[in-house]
Symmetry: C2
Subunit: 255 residues, 2 copies
């Protein structure tokens, strides 16, 4: 089995609970303080018949040199990427949202965006196979395990993916700080949409921008350059969440 | 002069433009491709009479071992922390917002929050002197230079700081995912407010929570644990920005 690692207590717990990955084994630092999360990891591992071993902290430091492992590393199979056609078919007929990252380069940003996506009920994240970051251990850690709760779709061509989504009635929203419209002027309810976020410096490529049905900006109160891409994604996605919560509340009150 | 470093093209440009720090010198990798930003750095340095030197990339890697320096490192005086009393006095009589970080531990999160604060017109960020992260090079880089555009206030007691802000008519808002009220049910216009964000794992301390005038949660569409703290801060702050933009637009249309 080709191995990758997942590190950090929450990330390992989420992966165990989601139960979509093949675990080789879990390594726990033998000087870890017995805490609720370590106990939970041992319990879940036992339940799923996964081996856990106590090892010297130095061994964990070798596997994850930045020292952010919090005393726990799981050796697991790599993330399973989902085919875009399969994803579209699975969600046909329901209001579905996806986020497309057009070459986002920082693993922390990709991880934080995936985490926000899962909180916001986004069902898929689309990444280009040859630019930007794919799923790595830093992404998994930063996502706090959210990578196990969303379809991760790797495509050779983002333009091709967007065209396919449009054929299946997804509305395409591009985040662009030169846009005329504000992100909160869109109605995110009752539709399937694909939100495109551009790379940290380059933004969204021109060929992709042409395919957008809506171009939206986030108005600011100062002239300072721009928001971090994961924060911008969170602001837009949670406007959508807010609209859906408000709609659900008003539907309930009408009954 | 006690030195710290600022690295990355945008962070160095922002620091040069803000012109609030003392520069020792700027080091540029001698294999840097001539690009617009490097040219701008050289131009600004010349304008302010700051020495820049071309050095081997290895020299920069020694100063910033993670290799995120993008070929530019400035040796500068540390960030100047602002006294809370001075801050309050300076902004007396205007609607002012501040963000309080109750022990946020990750430098990337602190940097991203400061960046969002500046975009959202927040005037000050309050950090405890003995818990969590203070301003370091990673914070400055992640903030994209936003640390130069906001008052950074270091306090021994966050509780004391909040009490003082309340005496000066700041409304205190605590972000807490157990809260009953939604963040978008507050009117952020026509008031000074202090938004408290808790540490990544521990949240906001109980003694601080008691002082809050509003406790707000961000509703989610799934049961997934919670948002990254910088994304949560951005979502709440930009609800405030949106309300103020909407208000300004409606005031204009009434004239």
């Amino acid at each position: 089995m080709e191995n990758t690692i997942i590190y950090g207590k929450n990330a390992v717990i989420e992966a165990l609970e989601a139960n979509t990955r093949e675990f080789n084994k879990i390594l726990i630092a033998n000087n870890s303080r017995a805490d609720v999360k370590i106990e939970k990891i041992k319990e879940l591992a036992s339940k799923h018949g996964i081996v856990f071993q106590f090892v010297a902290k130095e061994k964990l430091n070798q596997l994850e040199p930045e020292g952010r492992h919090q005393g726990v590393i799981a050796q697991v199979s790599p993330v399973k990427y989902v085919d875009l056609d399969d994803f579209i078919e699975e969600h046909e007929g329901s209001d579905t949202s996806v986020v497309i990252l057009d070459g986002v380069e920082d693993s922390h940003n990709v991880g934080a965006i995936i985490r926000s996506c899962v909180c916001a009920g986004v069902k898929g994240i689309i990444l280009p196979s040859r630019r930007g970051v794919l799923i790595n251990s830093t992404v998994e850690k930063t996502s706090a395990g959210a990578t196990n709760h969303i379809s991760i779709i790797k495509v050779n061509s983002i333009v091709g993916a967007v065209q396919k989504l449009k054929e299946h009635n997804y509305w395409v929203i591009a985040s662009d700080h030169h846009a005329n419209d504000n992100y909160y002027d869109i109605d995110y309810t009752n539709m399937s949409f694909a939100l495109i976020m551009g790379a940290e410096h380059a933004g969204i490529s021109r060929s992709l921008m042409k395919l957008a049905d809506f171009k939206v900006k986030i108005p600011m109160l100062t002239n300072f350059n721009s928001l971090n891409v994961s924060n911008a994604a969170a602001i837009i996605l949670f406007e959508g969440v807010k609209q859906r919560c408000a709609k659900n509340a008003s539907n309930r009150s009408r009954k």
